[in-house]
Amino acid sequence: MVLSLAILLSCQLLGEALARGLQLPVPGPVLGMAALLVGLRLIPRLALVLRPTVGVVLANLSLMFVPAGVGVVGNLSILSSDWPALAVVLVLSTIAAMLATVGTFLALRRLGQGGA
């Protein structure tokens, strides 16, 4: 577990250093994910080392959003007057984004199968 955490944090550190050093608009952890993917391609055995810890982390991904989520309640005053409009915008826009994404994905998947 300690080795796995060290690997994850090293990748994040590398990502943060790249993002800040090169002033990229991409967040450090996302670059860290890319770095780990490269690492896994180069050293496939890493997957065996990481799997137990990563399994626990990803099974509890929701936990890590709770502190930020509690901040929602702390900021409710910002939403005071606009909340009905904001609620409608968020629900409609989120559903529209999911429909557009899933529709495009499936349309091009069928196209790909048809061409193959």
Binding site: L9, I78, L86, M98, F105
Partner: protein, 240 residues
């Protein structure tokens, strides 16, 4: 006795231990309740844990900053957890190679619709410009969204709220929506919720199916990159 209790409380309430423990317990209670109910979409663990913690903070008049002193240790784990998404991505590389075209096209369309529909609807409702600018990056992961909001003149603290709410809305609606449409492709379902509802949607996707989770993770990562490039352009175009 009352004096001792007050002294104990004043000690505990300022130490990180209390709110760190409270966050873990609230999440465990929320997760146990969700499992007991058969993990229905509306019993979202983030939402339920917040609904448990918020009244406690309110009743003890604990400021958010004090709560975060303890909760920051959990919040910190978001970084390594994002890195950890590389493993399901790696496991799914063979199938991902076969779906490169759908992934790229769905990402572009989904990301544009997520931001443009938010900006367009918000304008139609006559919301203030700084609120519209805070809404535009709502579908991407929180740290990226805050950076974008700041760069385009939104209110980062409002963006944080809108990003979390978007995640919960996506996580709650994705399963019923996809079931109604009879979409059974886990890759398409996962990818859609990852584009529209970032990490909270991804957490939901992992709850439902490992392949949906992997594709949500890809969508989350790619959309973080695309949104940071796209939203500043889109806002310039849509808000003259």
């Amino acid at each position: 006795m009352m004096g001792d209790m007050a002294a104990l409380w004043s000690y505990l309430s300022t130490e990180p231990l209390l709110w760190l423990t409270a966050t873990l317990l609230a999440y465990l209670a929320a997760a146990a309740l969700a499992r007991a109910l058969g993990t229905p979409p509306w019993a979202n663990p983030v939402l339920m844990a917040v609904l448990i913690l918020a009244p406690v903070l309110w009743a003890t008049s604990t400021p958010y900053a004090t709560y975060f002193e303890g909760a920051q240790f959990i919040h910190f784990l978001l970084g390594p957890a994002t890195v950890a998404l590389a493993l399901p991505l790696y496991d799914n590389l063979p199938t991902i190679r076969k779906t490169v075209l759908p992934i790229v096209a769905a990402l572009l369309v989904g990301s544009v619709v997520a931001a443009a529909s938010a900006v367009g609807l918000a304008r139609a409702f006559g919301l203030a410009p700084e609120v519209i600018l805070s809404l535009a990056p709502k579908s991407t992961t929180a740290p990226v969204a805050l950076g974008i909001a700041e760069a385009i003149g939104g209110l980062p603290s409002l963006t944080a709220v809108l990003v979390i709410l978007t995640g919960i809305i996506g996580a709650v609606t994705v399963t019923p929506l996809m079931n109604v449409l009879r979409i059974t492709d886990w890759r398409a379902r996962g990818f859609a919720v990852g584009v529209a509802a970032h990490g909270i949607g991804t957490a939901r996707a992992f709850q439902v199916h490992p392949q949906a989770g992997a594709y949500a993770g890809i969508a989350l990562a790619l959309n973080a990159v695309l949104t940071s490039l796209l939203v500043p352009l889109l806002v310039r175009f849509m808000l003259p």
